[in-house]
């Protein structure tokens, strides 16, 4: 017998078995790319897992494996969870995309949820957060707060997610402060707190008095605090311990509502494959408390923008907008389509420097 057939039948058998046993207990698996203790990306996903446990108590059993390398290791871990009777598996890194699809083919009765990817199947949903909505709010505050008109931005790798964030922040900073200039440093690592600290210090030395970061450690916050007059924003988690200054606000990854809703859907038998890209409105992107270090009118403006985005009345990428090379992108009043946003690989007009290719 072919292994796929074997696996499928094993899965079927388990599916039947668990249907009998697990009427009262839904098993949810989580595959993490980093350690739970990274204090950032994986930490927030794990908070989501804990929220699921909290919400459903005895009705749910959650399992997780942390620091799973993308590639064959992740495929093995997912298969293992499916074999052990998981009903729903969240795979929380872009690099898990093809492995998720591969495993999902073998286990048609298990539901999969892949974060930040673009490949779906009947039993594979995708979900991601519109962090750029938060970046727009951040950019508005940053544009007002900067006195030197230089804003530093620490990027990890030049991928669409990061580029989108830079564009959104720049457009809105520019809107409130036409003289603003962005200095961008690419760390070329997902995780190296010491390098993030270096990058922040370099940006501060070169005149930046606002630091935006697309990396998850608090190193830039500490650097800003040491400098004394530099504004920062929390990333991934609230980083409230650095408030009210230098951290004046934050973008929080809040996966809990989505995880609870999807687990509920599996319990109710209403789960279907969907493509979710949620922003501020459903709470997937949280804007951390804007501290009193921000002038009241700026705070009001930022909150108004947040409301406008949440209500759907304003889209952060609304024309007229041009690309960096001066070519037209969006006509006046037009909004960017999700396809372009998802694969964004260009800067908007006014940003300097090239995107590393």
């Amino acid at each position: 017998m072919k292994i796929t057939a074997l696996l499928a039948s094993a899965a079927m058998a388990l599916g039947l078995a668990s249907a009998a046993v697990a009427d009262d207990k839904t098993k949810v698996g989580f595959v993490y790319v980093g350690p739970v203790g990274d204090g950032g990306w994986t930490y927030e996903h794990d908070q989501g897992r804990l929220a699921v446990e909290e919400a459903f108590g005895d009705k749910v059993e959650t399992v997780y494996v942390e620091s799973v390398a993308e590639g064959p290791d992740s495929e093995r871990v997912m298969t293992q969870m499916a074999l052990e009777g998981a009903d729903l598996i969240f795979t929380t890194s872009f690099g898990y995309m093809d492995p998720t699809i591969n495993v999902a083919k073998k286990f048609p009765n298990v539901k999969f949820e892949h974060a930040t990817g673009y490949k779906r199947a009947d039993n594979v949903s995708t979900y991601s957060a519109r962090f750029y909505e938060g970046r727009a709010v951040q950019g508005t505050i940053a544009g007002h707060m900067t006195k030197s008109n230089v804003i530093g931005y620490i990027g990890s790798f030049p991928i669409p997610e990061v580029i989108r964030g830079i564009n959104a922040a720049y457009i809105h900073a520019k809107k409130v402060n036409p003289d603003v200039e962005f200095k961008i440093v690419w760390a070329f690592t997902w995780f190296d707190p010491a390098k993030e600290a270096d990058a922040a210090k370099v940006l501060i030395e070169q005149g930046a008095d606002v630091i935006l970061q697309h990396t998850d450690s608090t190193a830039p916050q500490a650097a800003a605090q040491a400098a004394g007059n530099v504004v920062t924003f929390g990333q991934a988690s609230d980083m409230a311990e650095y408030g009210p200054f230098p951290r004046v606000s934050s973008i929080i990854d809040n996966w809990a509502p989505y995880y609870i809703a999807r687990t509920k859907a599996v319990m109710d038998g209403t789960w279907t494959s969907v493509d979710t890209w949620d922003g501020i409105a459903p709470g997937m992107v949280g804007i951390g408390e804007i501290s009193d270090a921000v002038p009241a009118e700026v705070k009001a403006e930022a909150l108004a923008l947040k409301e406008a985005i949440a209500s759907g009345e304003y889209h952060p990428f609304t024309g007229p907008l041009k690309k960096q090379d001066g070519s037209d992108w969006l006509a006046a009043g037009a909004v960017a389509d999700d396809g372009t946003l998802a694969g964004m690989n260009f800067f908007v007009e006014g940003l300097t420097g090239d995107i590393p290719q």
Binding site: E70, P72, R76, N102
Partner: protein, 360 residues
């Protein structure tokens, strides 16, 4: 006082028994650790060692052992030749990355043409890539006397940056909506390194690992080069008198280890991994160093050590998921296993004597 006395001959009995004793000691110490973390120690140990081999789903895990162990063995065999001769290639991780890049690059250049020559060309390119990357420290060492440990280690970081650059640029999937990462070679028949027997986990990389084990065994025991390697390691001056050229030996050992690491990278990227991505490398090059030493630099030993490491990885992931053990606990457990394996090996070469003696 406890005293060590060197045996005239390494004890055969102990060399067989020490790994078993070490594993038992690890089970006890690891069990204590798991108990301290509030988990059932017996269940945890059983999950790690028994579940992948004989558990309910072993039909799936056994092939995975091959997938996980093959690159480790392939790389470790190459490294062991150099280690025996006192040539320290620490940068196999970099050679692994470059092999994957050159191999995948050749494959992707032909996309979407289908031909039987593509995969052999990729294999050749992968081996050459790894070889060339290893030649940098080798040539610098023979020309300028630069330390190869350092240069090969530095080149790992350079290779990682190249990998990131390639995944974001040159090798990026043009149909990937701007996301990083190459096309999936699993979906390109001519370039796919699939299972030779479906579901067995036996891909070309595993076959290559087995061939490498045999090749190394024959080389070390039956061939002049192997003799030169052993002689240089044991008595460098004698080797020089015997007419061994250190330059050629460095080039040979670094070249072979680089080529094998490059092959491992190619087989991984074209098979189990499928894509060139920023995080393609997962530390096989470094783990292989441990595997080489655990296997006492002996080809058969390396094969067994590779299998043992693969077992703890796979069993460890199962224990994480089923018992909620943090991955850190598994790491500590692996560390313990290595400690005990290394520590008990003393019994192979030494006898423990009780009695008064001065401490050296």
């Amino acid at each position: 006082m406890v005293r060590l006395e060197k045996r005239a001959e390494p004890s055969r009995a102990w060399s067989m028994a020490t790994p078993v004793v070490a594993v038992l000691a690890t089970m006890i110490a690891g069990g204590l650790l798991f108990a301290a973390l509030g988990k059932d120690p017996v269940e945890a140990i059983r999950t790690i060692f028994w579940e992948p081999l004989f558990g309910e789903f072993s039909f799936y895990y056994r092939p995975q052992l091959v997938v996980k162990g093959a690159p480790l063995v392939l790389i470790a065999i190459g490294l062991s030749l150099g280690f025996k001769a006192g040539i320290w290639n620490i940068g196999a991780e970099g050679q692994y990355i470059i092999g994957a890049l050159t191999g995948a690059g050749v494959g992707l250049a032909f996309y979407p043409m289908e031909s039987v020559v593509i995969f052999p060309l990729m294999v050749l390119a992968g081996a050459l890539g790894g070889w060339a990357w290893a030649m940098i420290p080798a040539v610098l060492k023979t020309r300028f006397g630069t330390n190869e440990i350092l240069v090969s280690l530095m080149l790992v970081y350079v290779a990682e940056q190249l990998l990131a650059s390639m995944s974001l640029g040159l090798l990026k999937n043009p149909e990937g909506y701007g996301f990083p990462g190459s096309r999936n070679l699993q979906q390109y028949a001519s370039a796919h390194n699939g299972d030779l027997i479906a579901g067995s986990g036996l891909h070309w990389g595993a076959a290559a690992a087995l061939i490498a084990v045999i090749f190394a065994y024959v080389l070390l025991n039956r061939h002049m080069t192997g003799f030169h390697i052993r002689l240089t390691g044991d008595a460098p001056r004698a080797a020089r008198f015997a007419g061994v050229s250190p330059t050629r030996l460095v080039l040979f050992c670094m070249g072979v280890s680089g080529a094998l690491a490059g092959l491992a990278g190619l087989f991984e990227v074209s098979g189990p991994a499928g894509v060139v991505s920023i995080d393609f490398n997962v530390g096989y090059g470094f783990t292989a160093i441990i595997v080489a030493f655990l296997g006492r630099l002996h080809p058969v030993g390396i094969l067994l050590a590779g299998a043992l490491m693969a077992l703890t990885y796979i069993g460890g992931d199962i224990a994480q998921s089923n018992l909620g053990l943090p991955s850190a606990a598994i790491q500590v457990f692996q560390g313990m296993l290595l400690f005990f394996l290394l520590a008990f090996d003393v019994l192979t070469n030494f006898r423990i004597r009780l009695g008064a003696s001065e401490v050296a």
